[in-house]
Symmetry: C2
Subunit: 772 residues, 2 copies
C-alpha cells in the first residue's frame, strides 16, 4: 500500500506522475453522473499501461459463461458492464509529433478530483524528446444536470517554442472489455459521420441490441479568442475524428472545448438516437463550458447539503469519507428505477453485473439518510420489477413456487456461476426483504407495502418455505447446503444467519399481511387473490417460524455460525503468523474452508440487522466470540463490526474497524484499486460513521442518536434526512447540536431523551461519554 | 439407448452404417495395445461427423487451465491425453473422385471388432454419386507383440466398372484435441520426408518436448499380385503422403498394405527417432501383414487364457464381459511402470489425465487376478514414482509434511480443478494405500513393502495425521471439509468413509512397520532413517486411530455418511418420479447436494474394502439403508453394490446392479459413449462377476470362492491367477470345478471347505444355493 495522494479536505490530489500508479489513479479519479462514467484516462494518447474505461449505466453485454466444469443450473451468460465508446479522446500533435506522456519527461504534474464541484482537472508540463516544452491544462466532467453530456476543456501552451499544434478530438468505439471471456469485441458499428461541426458514432451491441450514440462538437480558442478553422475529418471502422491545425506562438494558449452527448437506446427510440444526441449536444454547446461547469457546481452543492460529513481534526479521515460519499453520489442518483449500484460503480469493469446484495445491505441505508426517500424507493422498485425473473430463477433450480433473487444481475437474471455462491448464497433473498422493512421503518412510507412490498415478501417467504426441510432427528426445520455471508464456508448446514433471516422474512411478511388486512383491506384482498395466497401457506410459515432450528453453543451462550462450527480449531486471527494474511492470498481454498476464519460478518450481520431483538449481553458474547476469528477479507465486513463495536462501547475496536475501509481505495489497501474502486463498500464506511460513531437508528418513528467521538477526532458533523426534514448534526466534545434546515419538524432522541426539532429550529444535548 | 450391435460371443458387429451412431462406434470399435490406441475412424476420407483420435500412451499436453473463478491452489495446467498423428489415413480416388462414405450410398456394411484375435475389420459396398460401385474390405490392428507397429490391409474392388484407382496413404499431424481449452493446436513439426518407400513425420509438442515420429511404408497388390509403381509424393506442414495410381478392371481387387511405426521420445533418444521408427517398420514390413496378424492372434490367445470369462446361456452377457476384458487388456499391458489406465483408455480424450483412483479401486483387482503379478506391481510402482510430486502437492496446499496424491494426473502433478474435488476428495490417498494392502494380500509378495510400499504408506499417514484436527466438543479427531466417494456431497465434515480409510491407513502402516521391524530389520532401520520417522509420529497415529470420530446412527445401527446426514429428507430413489432421473441431468447442483441421493458407493465402499472387519449384519443394515438412496450415476458405483448384494444373498439385486454396467458402452447406456468408452469402470463389471457372483476373495493365503449363478445364466467359468497358478473355475448348476493349468499348486476354499488344487489337478465341490 503506497500513499501517494495529497491530503486535502475537498479534493483528491496527485502531485507527480508515476506510470506505476497510473491505473490506480485512473480508478480513483473516475467521474460519473449516475448515467455514465469515465475512468481518469488521459485525453491525449498514452502508450503506457492504462485501463481505458467508459461506461453507460444499464448498457451491458451477456458474455458467454466460462467455467471449468459445467454444473446444471449455471447461467449461460455473465452480464458485463460494457466498456463503450471512448468519448474523451483528443490527440495532440506538436509539429507533427504526437503528445504521449509515456514518451515525455513530465514536470509539475497535478491531477485533481474536485469533489466539491464535481470535476477532474489535470495540469503538467511535458518535455518532449526533441526538447520542446508544452504546458497542458485540462478540465472535464460529466454533467449531473444534463445526464447525457460530457465536457472537456483542454488547453495547450508551447513554453519554449512556436509551432504548429494539431488537436484531434475523436470518438473511438473500437474498444474491448479487459475481462471479455473469449477476447471478443462486443460492439458493431451502425452508422457514423465525421464533420467539422458535429461528428457522431452510432454503435450497437452484438447481442441484446443496445445502441449507444456519441455525438461531439468542439471549439478552439487561442488566448481566449475563438478561432476559425477548416477541420480535416477522418473515419474508419467504429471511429470518427476531426483535426484542426493552428500556428501557436511561444507562450500563447490554444484551448479546445470538446462537448459530447452520449445517448442510448435505453432512453430513446432506435431511429431517434442521432437526433436526440445532436439536440442534447447543441443545447450544451450553446450553454458553453463555463456555464455547464457552474451548473455542475450547483448540483454538487445540493448533494453535499444532503450527504456531507465534516470531521474536525483529521484531514485524512475527512478526505476519505468525502471520497466515499462523492463516489456513491456519482454512481447512483436514483432517478432511474432500472439502474442499480455496481460493485465498482463506473470505475472499472471487474465482477460484472450491477446488482449484488450490497445494494440492500449497505447502499440503501446511505441513500435513505442522505437523499430524498424516492431514491431508496427506486432501489426497492428495481427488485420489484425483477420479481418475475426471480420466480423463474427459483423454478429453474427446481422450486415449485417462490422467488430467488440472483446473486449478481443486470436485468433480473442470474449471471454468476460458482455453484457455492450462485445456488447456495441464498441469504441475499433475506437482505432484499430486510431492505423493505428498513425503508418502511426509516421513512414511515407504509404505502410501499401494498404497492410493491408485499408481493416481493410473499414470494421470498414461499421460497424459504420450500427451501427448508423438516429434520426428523432434530424435530425442527433445517436449511441444508447453503453459503452464508461468510463466503469462507461453503455448502454448510443451518447457517444461523440464513435460518434467522429466512424465519424473520416469514414473520415480517405475516406482520405486513396483518397490517394490510386491517388498514388497506380492499387492496389486501386484491393482493391475496393476485398471489393466490392460501391460509395453508401462511400457517406453514408460522409453523416454520415456530420450529426453525438455530445452532447454538449453550456453554458460551453464542449462536453458532453453522452446524459443526465448534469442531474447528479456534485460533484467534492475532495468533496467526503475519505471513498467513490475507489468507485468501496465502492459503489454498480447502484450508480456508476448514479453518475457523470468517471473511465477513455472518452471525454478527444477523445481530446487526435484527439488533432490536437481541440484548446487549447477547450481542457482546457473540461479538467477543466472532470478532477475534474474523479476517475481514471482504471490504463489506469491517463496517458491521465497527457499528456493533460502537454499540458495545468498544470504541478503539470501532475506530480500528472504521479505518480498515475508510481509505480503502485512496490508500489502495487491498492492492487492487487499479481494477476499480470498491464502490458499494464505501456505503459501509458511511454507515460506520453515521450508524456507528453517531449511533443513528430509527426506532418507534424517532431518529435515535447515541454518538461518541473517536479519540483521533475533535468533532464531527453530518447531514441526515429524516421524514422530510434535513438535519445538520454536530457532535462536539461537550454537546450535540441538531439543526433543522427545513420546514418539517423532526422527532429525535439523543441517548435516552426525546426531542422535537422544530422547523428551522435547533436543539442541543449534553454529550455522554459512555454509550452503554 | 439404442441397441444396434449384433449379439456375438467373440465379436462386436455392426451390420449397417448409420452416421448418427458413427461416433459411438468409433469409440466402441477402438483398438489399442497399451502403447498406442486408435478410435475406429475410417481410413478413407469421411466428411461426416467423426471424432478423429490417435493416442500414444504417456504423451500428453499441459493445457492451460480454464476456470470461471480462480481459487488458490488450482493447478495451472490440465494434462490432456494428446490426439496425435493420424497414421491410419488412406485417401482413395476412383477415377479422380474421392471416396467419402458421407457422400455415397452404402450397402452391405459390416464393421467387426474381433476380440478373440484383436483386430478391426470393415466391409462395404459404396455406390458413388455417379453410380459407380466399389467394394472395400479393410483390416487393421495395433500389434500387441510389436508395440510400435500398426498395420492395415485395405482392399478395393470396382464392381460395375473398370477405371483408375488411386490410393494415397498418408500421415497427418495437423490434428487438434476436441477439448483443447483455448482451441489451440498442440503439435509442431520437427522434420518430415515423403518418399515412395518410406515416408515419415516427426512432430513435437509445443510444451514438454514430447517427440512422436510416425514412419510408413506400403505395398500394393492386384488380385494377389504385387504391383510395381511410381508413387507421387506430397508434403505440407505436418503432413506427408504418397500416391499410387492403378488401372483396375471390373471385379479385380486392388489391395494396399500400409505399415506404420509410431515411436516416441519416451522410449528413444530425440536424435534416434527416425532411425528407430524405420528399423521397427522395416522389420514389421519384412514379416508381412499375415504374419503380423498371426502374432496378434497368438498374443490375444494368451491374454484370454488368463482373463476370459465364459457365460453359458446368455450371449448378451458373454459379449458384454468379453468386451470389457478386451478393452482393459488393450489399454494397459503392464510392461511400462510410467503408464496407467486412463478413464477412457485409448477410445477418447474426455477428462484428460490418465490416472484416477479408479486404478487402485477397480483396476488393480482385475490385473491381480488375470495377469502376472508384476503388472499390478507396476501399477503400484507408478504411484511410488510419484511420491515426491505428491509431497509437493501436499506442501502446495499448506501441509508441513506428508503426501497427497492428485485426483487426476499424468506425471504425478495434479491436473484437476474443481476445489471440491481437487482439494477435498482426498480419500483417493486411502485407495492408494489400500491397493498396497490388496496387492500384498493377494500375491503374498511382502517384499513390496520394504522396497516401495512403506514409504508411500508412511507419507500418506503423515498427511492424514495433519489433515485431521482434534475437536474439543467431540473429544475426538475429526476431518472437516472433505468430499467422499459420493461426489453428490461436497465439503462435508466427517465423511465416514474418509475418516475410516484414513484411520485404516495409519493402522496398516503401523502393522507394516511392525512386520518390517521383525522380519527385515536392517531395511527397516534404513527406511526409518530415510523417512525420519519418529516415535512421536507413530504414537500420534496410534492416538488418532484410537480416537477417530465416526458418525453413526445408533438407532438404525448404521454408519452415517457424514455429519448431519440424517437431517435430510430420506426418500428412496424408487419413490422419485422417473422424470427426475438421472438427477445430474435434471436437477440443479444445490438440489442434488442437499438431497439424500448418493452418486456412488460411499459408506458401502468402506464396508467393501474393509469387508473382513465387519459382520454380515452390519453390512446388511448399511446396505439396506444406503442402497435405496443410491442413484448409481457413476459407472463405478453398481459393481460395489453388486458384490455386496452377493455377499448378503440379495441375488436379484446383485444381478440388477451387474446389468447397470455390463453393457454400458455397447448399449450406450449413459448416452455418452461417443466421447469414448468407460474403460476403468469395465474393471468394475469384471469385479461384479468374479468377486460378486463367484465371491472371490483372498483370506489367510487362500483363494476363497462363494459362487452362485444368476438365474438368467446356466453356468459360468473364468480363469484366475493366484500366486503362480492359473486356475480355470467352472461354476455349474450342480458343482464347481477348479482346474489348475500350471505346475504350481494352489490353496483354495469353496464356501466353507478348503482344498489344495495340485499342479494340473482338478477339484470339484458341490454348489451351495445359499451363500449366507
Amino acid at each position: 500500500m503506497k500513499q501517494y495522494l495529497k491530503m486535502d479536505e475537498w479534493s483528491i490530489i496527485e502531485e507527480s506522475f508515476d506510470p506505476a500508479t497510473h491505473e490506480i489513479s485512473e480508478s480513483i479519479f473516475s467521474i460519473g453522473n449516475g448515467f455514465m462514467g469515465q475512468r481518469a484516462n488521459f485525453e491525449e494518447q498514452y502508450s503506457g499501461k492504462s485501463l481505458q474505461g467508459s461506461y453507460m449505466a444499464g448498457v451491458y453485454y451477456p458474455d458467454k459463461t466460462r467455467v471449468g466444469w459445467w454444473k446444471n443450473g449455471y447461467p449461460e451468460y455473465f452480464a458485463k458492464v460494457l466498456n463503450s465508446t471512448n468519448w474523451i479522446g483528443i490527440n495532440v500533435l506538436i509539429n507533427g509529433e504526437s503528445l504521449d506522456l509515456a514518451k515525455c519527461e513530465i514536470k509539475d504534474f497535478v491531477r485533481e478530483l474536485n469533489m466539491k464541484e464535481g470535476y477532474l482537472s489535470r495540469r503538467f508540463v511535458a518535455v518532449m524528446e526533441n526538447g520542446k516544452e508544452i504546458q497542458v491544462e485540462s478540465v472535464r466532467f460529466v454533467s449531473m444536470k444534463r445526464q447525457e453530456i460530457g465536457a472537456i476543456r483542454y488547453a495547450v501552451t508551447p513554453l519554449n517554442f512556436s509551432g504548429t499544434i494539431r488537436v484531434v478530438p475523436y470518438l473511438d468505439g473500437d474498444v474491448q472489455n479487459k475481462d471479455s471471456n473469449y477476447d471478443e469485441k462486443f460492439w458493431l458499428e451502425v452508422e457514423k459521420s465525421a464533420a467539422q461541426d458535429i461528428s457522431y458514432l452510432n454503435l450497437k451491441t452484438k447481442k441484446l441490441d443496445f445502441h449507444v450514440t456519441s455525438v461531439m462538437s468542439f471549439d478552439v480558442y487561442k488566448n481566449g479568442e475563438k478561432q476559425e478553422f477548416e477541420a480535416s475529418v477522418s473515419e474508419r471502422e467504429k471511429f470518427v475524428s476531426a483535426e484542426a491545425a493552428f500556428e501557436v506562438e511561444q507562450g500563447a494558449t490554444l484551448t479546445l472545448y470538446k462537448y459530447v452527448a452520449n445517448v442510448t437506446s435505453r432512453n430513446h427510440g432506435l431511429g431517434q438516437l442521432v437526433e436526440a444526441g445532436k439536440k442534447a449536444l447543441l443545447e450544451a454547446h450553446a450553454a458553453g463550458f463555463d456555464s455547464l461547469r457552474q451548473e455542475q457546481a450547483d448540483v454538487w452543492a445540493e448533494k453535499w447539503k444532503g450527504s456531507d460529513i465534516i470531521i474536525e481534526g483529521d484531514v485524512s479521515a475527512q478526505q476519505g469519507i468525502r471520497f466515499n460519499i462523492f463516489q456513491l453520489n456519482q454512481t447512483y442518483t436514483g432517478e432511474d428505477d432500472r439502474l442499480n449500484i455496481g460493485p465498482k460503480g463506473f470505475t472499472g469493469e471487474k465482477y460484472g453485473g450491477s446488482t449484488y446484495w450490497d445494494t440492500e445491505a449497505y447502499c440503501v441505508p446511505f441513500y435513505l439518510s442522505t437523499a430524498d426517500s424516492g431514491i431508496a424507493r427506486n432501489l426497492l422498485i428495481y427488485r420489484y420489477k425483477h420479481l418475475e425473473k426471480a420466480k423463474e430463477n427459483a423454478k429453474k433450480l427446481g422450486f415449485t413456487k417462490g422467488a430467488l433473487y440472483p446473486m449478481v444481475t443486470m436485468n433480473g437474471e442470474e449471471c454468476h456461476n460458482e455453484w457455492e455462491i450462485t445456488f447456495e448464497e441464498i441469504h441475499r433473498n433475506g437482505a432484499i426483504a430486510y431492505a423493505i422493512y428498513n425503508y418502511v421503518n426509516y421513512t414511515g412510507d407504509k404505502s410501499y407495502l401494498s404497492q410493491y412490498g408485499l408481493e416481493v415478501l410473499a414470494e421470498i417467504s414461499r421460497f424459504w418455505e420450500e427451501r427448508v426441510n423438516f429434520s426428523s432427528t432434530k424435530g425442527k426445520y433445517v436449511m441444508l447446503g447453503v453459503t452464508g455471508p461468510n463466503e469462507y464456508e461453503n455448502n454448510v448446514n443451518n447457517n444461523w444467519y440464513t435460518n434467522r433471516i429466512a424465519s424473520w422474512t416469514m414473520e415480517y411478511t405475516l406482520e405486513v399481511l396483518d397490517y394490510l388486512k386491517k388498514n388497506e383491506n380492499a387492496r389486501y384482498l386484491e393482493l391475496i387473490d393476485k398471489l393466490k395466497l392460501s391460509n395453508e401457506e401462511t400457517a406453514k410459515w408460522r409453523n416454520i417460524i415456530d420450529n426453525m432450528y438455530y445452532p447454538v453453543d449453550e456453554e458460551r451462550g453464542v449462536f453458532l455460525q453453522q452446524d459443526g462450527f465448534l469442531d474447528k480449531e479456534l485460533v484467534p486471527v492475532k495468533d496467526l503468523a503475519p505471513e498467513n494474511l490475507p489468507i485468501n492470498q496465502n492459503w489454498s481454498w480447502d484450508r480456508i474452508l476448514r479453518s475457523c476464519y470468517i471473511k465477513q460478518a455472518d452471525v454478527l450481520q444477523g445481530l446487526f440487522f435484527l439488533s432490536d431483538r437481541y440484548d446487549l449481553e447477547t450481542k457482546k458474547r457473540n461479538f467477543d466470540f466472532y470478532e477475534p476469528l474474523t479476517v475481514h477479507e471482504s471490504s463489506l465486513s469491517p463496517c458491521v463490526h465497527s457499528i456493533m463495536a460502537c454499540e458495545l462501547g468498544y470504541q478503539e475496536k470501532a475506530y480500528e474497524m472504521y479505518l480498515r475501509t475508510a481509505r480503502l481505495d485512496l490508500d489502495n489497501y487491498n492492492n487492487d484499486t487499479e481494477d476499480g474502486c470498491h464502490t458499494t463498500s464505501m456505503a459501509g464506511t458511511w454507515m460506520a460513521v453515521i450508524q456507528g460513531f453517531a449511533g443513528l437508528r430509527v426506532k418507534n418513528d424517532e431518529l435515535v442518536l447515541q454518538p461518541f467521538i473517536p479519540s483521533h477526532w475533535k468533532a464531527f458533523s453530518f447531514n441526515v434526512m429524516f421524514r422530510g426534514a434535513t438535519l445538520k448534526v454536530n457532535v462536539g466534545e461537550e454537546s450535540i447540536t441538531v439543526t433543522n434546515e427545513t420546514d418539517t419538524p423532526a422527532a429525535i432522541r439523543i441517548y435516552d431523551r426525546s426531542y422535537t426539532v422544530s422547523a428551522h429550529g435547533e436543539i442541543q444535548a449534553q454529550r455522554s461519554s459512555v454509550t452503554i
